[in-house]
Symmetry: none
Subunit: 148 residues, 2 copies
């Protein structure tokens, strides 16, 4: 079993980057977060335990987590802040969202995953993640005859 900590420490070692108390703490706090988090939110949580930490340290460490594959950045329309979320925690579920009532279903489809890999490769990319959201109308909202 490969732990996230090990991935991070190996990453640091490979690049001759240093393991510090702050980086350890930031990784731990990040891993404890169940869902996505903004840099500001993470900064605020960490300050409670470690009041002298700097925002830039948190920010720079989040970028490290992205670079070593533990986190990914997510930006959403309607929110100007970047979210960081676990890359490996919920590796394979995508969302189906009802425009009428907001109901959300999760799904996983191997064929789509494979096609994504293929497309990335065709463009010279090494795929590290993806985000797929299908919007539609659920049964109930279709029956109600169209939503706003």
């Amino acid at each position: 079993m490969i732990s996230e900590q090990k991935i991070f420490y190996d990453y640091l070692e490979t690049r001759r980057l240093k393991r510090t108390a702050q980086r350890d703490l930031i990784l731990d706090m990040f891993l404890k977060i169940e869902k996505h988090v903004t840099p500001e939110e993470l900064y605020q949580s960490i300050r409670k335990k470690y009041p002298h930490i700097g925002f830039s340290t948190v920010y720079r460490t989040l970028k490290l987590l992205v670079n070593c594959g533990l986190a990914r950045e997510v930006k959403t329309a309607g929110d100007n802040s970047t979210f960081f979320e676990h890359q490996y925690d919920h590796p394979h579920h995508d969302h189906l969202v009802c425009q009428g009532c907001g109901k959300m279903a999760e799904f996983f489809d191997k064929a789509i995953e494979d096609l994504q890999e293929k497309i990335a490769r065709a463009h010279g990319f090494k795929m590290t993640g993806h985000r797929l959201e299908i919007t539609g109308l659920c049964k109930t909202c279709q029956d109600k005859g169209g939503a706003e």
Copy 2:
């Protein structure tokens, strides 16, 4: 046939908003753009024809276009600026984003589109749209090793 102009003008009328030369021009320029555009880029193009236009006017009008369904906002990891793109410009394209340098490629894959329809149907949804973003590392960033 419903023109984008008509959609916009109807939207304005319904809400007792005013039709102005600037709004007309911004819509026209936006419709001429083939791909996504940042507010800044659109502002710069418009200034060439209409030097006194204000950035806020462009920005506010883009939001109007989103609200009336003609445009949508797209934000990508690796780029801090919001892109605006046509909402009704089928076939939709999806994005491939490099986590290292923010470089963005567009693609369209019929097989993926079809699978999405199928999945939505399997969950009792009627699909109305989707958003797919594949993140990865482009050739250049793979070679550089992804370091900051």
